[in-house]
C-alpha cells in the first residue's frame, strides 16, 4: 500500500512539476509567432488545459503525501510541515493568481491582439509568478530529498 502510494505520489510530481515547467518555453516560442497572435492563442489554450491537469495533480500530490505520512506513521517533522505548507501556498497562488490570468489573456488577445499593454503586463506578471512557483517546487523537492530534521 505504502509503495503503491509512493509510486502514485512520484508520478503526480512528475506530471505536475514537469507540465508546469514547460509553460515558460511554450509561451516564449509562441510570443515569437505571427503578429495575429494565432500561436499565442494556441499556446494559451493548451496551457489552460495543462494548467488544470497540473493543478489537479498538485492537489493529489498533497493528498497522497499526507496519506504517506499517515501510513508510515511519520511524526510531522519540520521538513514535512514546510513542504506541505509550500504546496498549499503554491496551490492557492496558482488557483487565485496564476490560472485566472490565462482566460483573461485569451480574451484580451482576441479583442486587442498580442501588442496590448494589458496583455503584456499580465504576461509579465504570470512569468514572475511562474518563476516563484518554480523556486517553491525546487525547495519542496530539496526538502523531500534531504529531509532536514
Amino acid at each position: 500500500m505504502y509503495l503503491a502510494l509512493k509510486f502514485l505520489h512520484i508520478f503526480l510530481a512528475i506530471v505536475a512539476v514537469g507540465f508546469t515547467s514547460s509553460f515558460g518555453l511554450i509561451l516564449a516560442r509562441a510570443s515569437k509567432g505571427g503578429a495575429d497572435g494565432r500561436e499565442l492563442k494556441f499556446a494559451l489554450d493548451t496551457i489552460r488545459v495543462m494548467g488544470r491537469i497540473g493543478h489537479v495533480c498538485f492537489l493529489f500530490l498533497l493528498i497522497t503525501g499526507i496519506a504517506l505520512i499517515h501510513i508510515a506513521g511519520y511524526p510531522w517533522y519540520l521538513w514535512l510541515k514546510w513542504s506541505a505548507g509550500l504546496v498549499v501556498v503554491a496551490l492557492l497562488v496558482a488557483q487565485f493568481l496564476l490560472l485566472p490570468t490565462v482566460p483573461k489573456r485569451l480574451a484580451i488577445l482576441a479583442a486587442r491582439g498580442p501588442g496590448d499593454p494589458e496583455f503584456i503586463a499580465l504576461s509579465k506578471r504570470s512569468a514572475v509568478l511562474g518563476a516563484v512557483l518554480g523556486v517553491a517546487a525546487l525547495v519542496v523537492l530539496w526538502l523531500m530529498v534531504s529531509k532536514p530534521a
Binding site: F7, I14, V15, S22, I26, A30, E39, T46, V49, L141
Partner: protein, 152 residues
C-alpha cells in the same frame, strides 16, 4: 551530502524529462484541431522538437549519469534487478528517442512544411510518432516503478 545532491539532480532530471515528454502528446493532439494551413501544428512540432533537444534529452543523459554516480557513491551492487533493469530500460529509451523518435519528429516538420498536414506521409509519421511516444512512456513508467519498488 554528495549523494543527496546527486539524488536531487536525479529526481529533478526525471521530473523535467518525463514531464516534458508527457506534454508532447497534449501539444500535438490539440494542434490537430488547429487551422487547415497547419500553423498550429508547425508551432507544436517545432516546440516539441525544441523541448526534446534542449530539455528532455539532456535531462535523460543527466538522469543516467547521476543514476550511475549514485550507485557508485552509495556502493550499491549492480546485481540488484532494479538497478540493472532500470539502466537497461533507460538505454532502450535513449535508443528509441534518439534513433527513432527525434528523426520522425524532424521528418514530420519537413513534410508539414513541404506538403502540408493532409499529406499521407505526414499522417503515417504522426501515427509512428504517437506509437513511439506511447512505448517510451510505458517504459519510463516501468523505470519509475522499479525505482520505487526496488525488486532485488
Amino acid at each position: 551530502m554528495l549523494f543527496l545532491v546527486l539524488k536531487f539532480v536525479h529526481i529533478l532530471s526525471a521530473i523535467l524529462a518525463v514531464g516534458f515528454n508527457a506534454a508532447y502528446g497534449l501539444l500535438i493532439g490539440r494542434a490537430r484541431r488547429g487551422g487547415l494551413d497547419g500553423r498550429e501544428m508547425a508551432f507544436a512540432l517545432k516546440t516539441v522538437k525544441l523541448m526534446d533537444d534542449r530539455i528532455a534529452n539532456p535531462c535523460y543523459l543527466l538522469l543516467g549519469i547521476t543514476g550511475v554516480s549514485m550507485v557508485i557513491v552509495q556502493g550499491y551492487a549492480w546485481s540488484y534487478t532494479w538497478i540493472h533493469a532500470s539502466l537497461a530500460l533507460l538505454v532502450i529509451v535513449a535508443v528509441l528517442g534518439l534513433a527513432f523518435y527525434t528523426p520522425t519528429l524532424r521528418r514530420q516538420i519537413d513534410v508539414l512544411q513541404s506538403s502540408g498536414a493532409s499529406d499521407p506521409e505526414f499522417a503515417r509519421l504522426s501515427t509512428r510518432g504517437a506509437i513511439l511516444g506511447s512505448v517510451i512512456g510505458v517504459i519510463v513508467i516501468v523505470i519509475v516503478a522499479l525505482m520505487v519498488y526496488k525488486p532485488s
